[in-house]
């Protein structure tokens, strides 16, 4: 009996996968925002993901500004991630609460001071959303560090944990 159920499963699984493939590809063909089946993600994401209004800064430039203490880092991730660990001296301004909290944070930053926003993950858009938002507020030198937390750690640059006042 169990053998016959297994036999059923053996033809049902490929049949299900086939039906799904046809439906998925068919739907993708007819939809207006059709996706290419193959796409070089790593190349596509090199800096192009951010809004044109915002400058994408390289990790080398960000590290240089950090060493010269000529920049303020803003952490766009949720506060719990900030507390777990963030770029040394960075201020927390989670994107979700940016509108309420921005004035407290902005008070601490001179308007001519360059700002670098960061979050994590190559496709994370929190940091460039925050950067565009800050540009709208009147800050002139706002950059976004794509995949910031990961690349910062990869380069063994200074970090700290906990909540900075």
């Amino acid at each position: 009996m169990i053998k016959s159920i297994l036999m059923k499963a053996l033809w049902q699984i490929p049949a299900l996968l086939l039906v799904t493939t046809c439906l998925a590809l068919g739907f993708n063909q007819v939809r207006s925002d059709r996706m290419p089946l193959v796409c070089q993600w790593s190349e596509q994401l090199q800096g192009s993901k951010s809004s044109e209004a915002v400058h994408i800064i390289s990790i080398e430039d960000a590290a240089m500004l950090f060493k010269n203490k000529k920049v303020i880092f803003l952490d766009a991730r949720p506060e719990s991630f900030y507390i777990e660990g963030h770029i040394k001296g960075a201020l927390s301004l989670p994107w979700e609460t940016a509108e309420e909290k921005c004035f407290d944070v902005v008070e601490k930053i001179p308007t001519d001071m360059p700002i670098i926003t960061y979050c994590d993950g190559t496709n994370c858009e929190l940091c460039d959303k925050l950067a565009v938002f800050l540009c709208d507020l009147g800050f002139e030198h706002v950059s976004a560090l794509i995949n910031g937390w990961t690349v910062w750690n990869r380069n063994n640059l200074p970090v700290e944990t906990g909540n900075t006042p």
Partner: protein, 165 residues
């Protein structure tokens, strides 16, 4: 008689679980079908698949979730659908655990493509609970041999029992 009662209990529980697990997959799949590009971004962030497979996977997976969910609810091709469901849950948990160990700060992409839906122990726990439920279905289908087609298999089981008497 006791045996037939147990069978009915298994029938009822498995029916409830089928409806629940099926609905979860349908509701998880639809937003990803609507915004495939954002889901592809979430898949990319997991850094588990080679670039060339990301788009196809992002087009295919949400449809597989929806179709397996519908088949589970309708009770059609149960052996195949249940095996695929278990396989998917195991793969999801593996992907979440690997990302958690790697310390990736990325969105789960489980129920939406929202970048604030981050991976944490809660998401792993939730998926593990779903895996337990789907393993129970596997047991019911392959060991208790409740594979009768149709939304309400009790009826057919009772008929079968009557026929046996």
């Amino acid at each position: 008689m006791i045996h037939s009662n147990r069978l009915t209990i298994h029938h009822r529980i498995s029916l409830l679980i089928r409806f629940f697990l099926g609905a979860v997959f349908i509701f998880a799949g639809i937003p990803k079908i609507m915004d495939t590009a954002a889901f592809a971004g979430a898949v990319y962030n997991y850094q588990l698949l080679p670039d060339v497979l990301i788009n196809f996977f992002a087009i295919f997976l949400p449809w597989l979730e929806v179709i397996v969910g519908i088949f589970l609810i309708l009770g059609v091709w149960l052996p195949g659908a249940v095996i695929i469901y278990n396989g998917l849950m195991i793969s999801f948990i593996a992907a979440l655990v690997i990302s958690n160990i790697r310390g990736l700060d990325i969105s789960c992409g489980c129920f939406s493509t929202d970048s604030t839906d981050a991976i944490n122990l809660g998401t792993i726990f939730r998926d593990s609970a779903m895996l337990l439920a789907s393993l129970y279905l596997l047991f019911v289908v392959f060991v208790k041999k409740i594979t009768s087609d149709g939304i309400f298999p009790e009826k057919t089981a009772e008929c079968r029992l009557n026929r046996m008497r």
